[in-house]
Structure formats: C-alpha cells, structure tokens
C-alpha cells in the first residue's frame, strides 16, 4: 500500500512542497530512500525506525521504499523524519486518517520526541501560498509558523502525539500567537545612543550614515568606543516594516538562529563576525548553501571590527552583495539567492599599534608599516564606503561627564524623516536612498549652487581628493541637506561632507 504525506523543504529562503511517498510491499525486509536525499535523510531511516519502535508502535515488516518527489531537487536536512514516519505508519494501517491537507515537518529523536527544524517560516509562507493551511510542526517551531496569517498550526511534542491526533483520539489546540503584541515586544532594542559618552562628532556622522544608507568606516585608537557606537546604529535606523521583518526572519530561520520563544526578528539585526571569518561564512556557502553574515545582517548592520585584519579575499567578496543587495551562490546542482541589503560599518585602528595621531600615546609604527596596514583595504572596496570618521580617544573629563546624550528615539525621528524625503524623491527611479545614487542620477538630484561648487573645488585642490571622493562628498552632502529638510545642497552641507573623507586626505596615507 502506498501512503502520501506532504512536507516541504527550503532552497535559499524559499520553500517548496515535497511529496513523501511510502510503499510497503512483500519481499526481503529493507528500507530505502530515493529522490536525491542527502546523508541526513539517508540516516533518517535509523531514527525513524527507532522512534516508531520506542513509541510502542510496530515497525512494519516488508520492503519499505520512500520516495521524495519531485525527485530532481536535492533534499537536505532532518525535517522529513516525521513525515516519513507518519507515511510508514499510514502505509502499515496504523494511521487511518487522510493526510493530504497537512504539511508535516519535524526531526525525530530515538525516543520518539519531535525536535525543531530549520526554515519553518519560509516553508509555511510558501506552502500557504500554494493553498495549504494546516501544518503539523515541532513545538519548538510553533511560534515561527503561527506568524503567517490564515494558517492553522498544530504543534506536536512526539510522534505518538501526532499519530493520536491524526487518528482523532487526541485533540491538539491549534497554536495561535498575538502577532501585534509579539510585534510590539520584538521591536525593542536593549541599547541606546544615550549610553555613549562624548563622541558627538561620531554620533553625528552615524546619524548622517543612517539617514542616507551610507556605509561607514570608523578609524580610532583602541577603546575609543567604535564597537559601542556601531552596536547602537540599528537603534537610529528607521523601524523595520513587517515585510522587512519577515524577510529577515526567513533568513534567520533558514540559518537555524531563531530561538524557541522567538517568533520574529523585529529589530534590525546587528552582525559582528570575527575577522578570521572565511568567505563562505561571510557571503554564504557550503555544499548545500546556507546564508552567510551578509544575509543575516539583511535589513540591518554588518559590523566588521579590525577591518584590515580580514582576509583580503573575504573583503573583496563583499563588493558584489554591497552592490546588488543580494548574494547568489551557484552549485552544480542548484543556485540559490539570499537577500543581503545591509549597512556596512567597518572599524579599524589608524595604524598597527593603534595610536597614530593620538595625542597621549606615542605611535611606534614606521610610515611604511602604516602604509601597508591601510592599503590592505582595496580602492574598489573603499569606493563603496561613503563616510570615514575619526573616533578619537576620550579625555578624562568626557569619560566622567554626567551629561546624557540624545536618546536613540529622537535621532531616529530625524533619520526617518530624511529617509521619507528620499523615498519621495526617488519614487520613480527605482532606488530608495542617497547612497545608491550614481552617474546621471547624481547629476540630476545633487545640483550644487555656485558657492558650494567653489568650496568643493578648493577642497579638492587643497587636499588632493580623487574623483571618487568627489561623488562621495556630493552624496553625503545630499543626505545632510535632507536631514535639515533642505531641498538645495548648501555650502555648509558640502563643508561638513568634506570632513567625512579622512582616508582621502593625503597627509594621512602618504
């Protein structure tokens, strides 16, 4: 007899339906799985057999064949354990209900308990769009699945529970969550810009970066507060919309980073990978591609501390996702695309010893060593970072000062307003922030008046700025004007923007 159970798997962050077909026929007792299973699925036969036996049920005798259809897509992961087990029990006549209307997901442990799996949210979303609205999922994943509106989620703790439920002897309360209250609770940050003493210049620069979506490079001695500042950047970005939150949650779900209690990533993510990270870890990869840090930072901030210490190959790999807002990973058997729209915040010391330019310490580095250190960051990459700021060491007075800075919520209001102006201005040209301006659009939307033009010319001649620096300055000036609510870019906007080009100033590098 053949039994069919619907399940689902993820490729990238999109789910697709997998039909689990189970046939038990006469012949030598065997258990085989077909339909491009990976090793985790091949191993599932041991888990399934023991889980069924240890649930006090009979594991049927016979030639058992499992087919995962469609057979041409590679299947990965352990989420098929439960559907396979239910299929076997149905084929053996233990379950007599119709399973067609359910999507079943779950890993089995040897004692018949159901464990959580990855990617439940994307699976639920895509299965729902294909007309399925009943889901049997591990209890650990119930919150995640219940976020999707219009689905009925039956959480199960064990195989036996699922069997009893399907046979109608056990009633399982559909899991429902109050999306509004979760959404409200999930949107709270546990850090605030108020916590940062001093560093007014850096705060202002981060506000501008947040307002225009500009990438930032912070340069300063150890202990100046670079990490602390970066951590608080998400708190001044405009709040996530529900759609953005769902997309970010999908990525985190696929990566298996959602906790049992967490249903939604409601705040902009802040990802700070260590500088020894590999390119696959940063961009995403693996035999069966999983999202990397750039995708986990989707709609949020990617913070790279000790920027020049990162492997050069890794840094260069950043360029494509920064440009496209997504990462495509190609494998012989598949190609997946992960979203990766993030703000890059990089931090570095001014020199290998860390104290170049610090009035209270002596720098022990030779000019050549400094040069080597700085040049680890390639031109094309630097080209994509609009704002460079110096974060100086704090003085004793600043450290002891009782003055409390502006709270994040205040700054966020200004940032959100500036972003709104940009969305309005660019609604017909397919971009959403000043950072994305280039070529023709730059000329069209960033006209300078003659005084501003003169100021910029003087600066370029005096500091020896490159053409690259020129466009960056204009873009940042555009954002500063937006923050002020000004349609025109005035000389003071350009003047401030020029300050954010530390790395282009000749004296520093050569």
């Amino acid at each position: 007899m053949i039994a069919r159970v619907n399940s689902s798997a993820v490729v990238g962050i999109e789910g697709y339906i997998v039909n689990v077909e189970v046939d038990i026929s006469k012949g030598l007792p065997s258990f085989s799985t077909v339909g491009l299973p990976d090793s985790a699925i091949k191993e599932s036969r041991n888990r399934v057999e023991m889980a069924i036996k240890n649930s006090g049920l009979d594991f049927p005798i016979g030639k058992i064949t499992i087919n995962l259809a469609p057979a041409d897509i590679r299947k990965e992961g352990s989420a098929f354990d439960l559907p396979i087990a239910l299929g076997i029990l149905k084929a053996a006549g233990v379950i007599n209900a119709n399973l067609d209307e359910f999507i079943v997901l779950g890993e089995l442990s040897l004692d018949g308990k159901v464990r959580g799996v990855r990617g439940v949210l994307p699976v639920t979303i895509s299965a729902h769009s294909k007309g399925f609205d009943k889901f049997i999922v591990p209890r650990d994943n119930a919150n995640e699945a219940a976020i999707v509106k219009g689905v009925t989620v039956y959480p199960v703790d064990s195989l036996l529970e699922a069997v009893s439920f399907l046979n109608g002897v056990l009633d399982i309360q559909p899991h429902s969550i109050d999306i509004d209250s979760i959404w409200e609770r999930a949107r709270v940050y546990d850090v605030d810009f108020q916590d940062v003493r001093g560093q007014e210049g850096a705060k202002r620069a981060l506000e501008i970066a947040a307002a225009g979506g500009h990438n930032v490079l912070m340069i300063g001695p150890p202990g100046a507060g670079k990490t602390m500042l970066a951590k608080r950047l998400p708190t001044i970005l405009p709040p996530l919309s529900l759609e953005e939150a769902l997309e970010t949650t999908k990525v985190h779900s696929v990566a298996g980073l959602l906790g049992r209690e967490q249903a939604l990533v409601g705040v902009r993510p802040f990802r700070a990978p260590h500088h020894t990270i590999s390119d696959a870890g940063l961009i995403g990869g693996g035999h069966f591609p999983t999202p990397g840090e750039v995708s986990l930072a989707h709609n949020g901030v990617l913070f790279l501390d000790e920027f020049p210490e990162f492997n050069r190959r890794v840094l260069e790999a950043l360029r494509q996702p920064m440009e496209d807002g997504e990462v495509t990973i190609s494998r012989a058997t598949m190609r997946v695309t992960f979203p990766a729209r993030f703000m890059l915040v990089a931090a570095m010391n001014p020199c290998p010893c860390g104290y170049f330019g610090d009035p209270r310490h002596n720098c022990t580095c030779t000019p050549a060593a400094i040069q080597r250190y700085v040049s680890k960051i390639s031109g094309p990459l630097l080209d994509r970072i609009d704002i460079h700021i110096e974060v100086p060491a704090l003085t004793f007075d600043e450290l002891r000062s009782k003055s409390v800075g502006e709270p994040s919520s205040k700054i966020r209001e200004r940032v959100t307003e500036a972003r709104r102006r940009q969305l309005e201005r660019y609604k017909d040209v397919g971009i959403y922030s000043n950072a994305q301006l280039s070529g023709k659009l730059l000329e069209k939307y960033c006209e300078l008046d003659s005084t501003a033009e003169d100021l910029l010319r003087t600066a370029i001649e005096q500091f020896g700025f490159s053409a690259r620096a020129y466009t960056r300055i204009v873009k940042v000036a555009r954002t500063i004007a937006d923050l002020e609510g000004s349609d025109r870019i005035r000389p003071e906007h350009v003047g401030e923007a020029i300050q954010y080009r530390t790395l282009d100033r000749k004296y520093w590098i050569r």
Partner: protein, 125 residues
C-alpha cells in the same frame, strides 16, 4: 534436562529453539536448509510472515554474548541463503520476510534460557 555433550551443544540448542518456536505458534517449514554457501538453521512461518532464524548456543558467557557472533558477513550470508530459499520455493516478493536471532544460553550446570530477537536485522543499513 540432561546436560548435552560439548560437541552437540549447537544441535541441542537448536532443538530447544525449535520447541520454543512451536510453543509460540510458529509453523516450522524447514530445518537446516543447507546449500553450498551456507545454512539456514530454521525457516518458519507465522501470521503470513516467513521467518528465517539463526540459532546461537553458548555454554559460557565469557566467550561473549550469543548475538555477538552475528557479524555483518554472517548477515550477508543469511540474506543470500534466504534469497535462495525464497526463489526455490516460489515465494520471491510474494511474502513478508523477517530475520530473527535466537540465543540459547546453556550454562554447564543449569537449564537453557532463550532470548529471541524479533526482526534482528534488515537488508542494507
């Protein structure tokens, strides 16, 4: 029960297993089905399932548990023999099949005890 001599301990153990199976409602189809490649100790039948049984008898525990001597190679051999039996009796893919192991522990100065592993192994995995 009289204590068996050392040389026939295997045969005696099989007889004990045989009696046990009959008491438990198994219909014995064949004993010591022997071919060039090996032997099936007992072939029997219950509830529509053909059961191939390997019997292991041990006098003393110190030579290991009876089931320890069922190695992968032994399994492969039993599977081959079972295939041959099924084909010969026109039962190939016409019956449900199971492999069991019966361990007979027969200490020198005591009575035999039986341990029956139902569905001891399957083809592959």
């Amino acid at each position: 029960m009289a204590e068996p001599s050392l040389y026939t301990v295997g045969d005696e153990g099989e007889l004990v297993a045989l009696r046990y199976l009959q008491l438990n409602g198994y219909e014995i189809l064949s004993r010591n089905y022997r071919k060039k490649r090996g032997e099936l100790d007992i072939v029997c039948h219950k509830d529509g399932v053909i059961v191939f049984i390997e019997v292991k008898t041990r006098r003393e525990q110190q030579f290991g548990h009876p089931f320890e001597s069922i190695t992968t190679r032994k399994k492969q051999q039993l599977i081959k023999m079972a295939k041959q039996y099924l084909v010969e009796h026109n039962l190939w893919d016409k019956a449900y099949v199971r492999f069991d192991v019966i361990g007979v522990n027969w200490p020198k100065d005591g009575n035999p005890s039986i341990e029956h592993i139902v569905d001891a192994f399957r083809v592959g995995g």
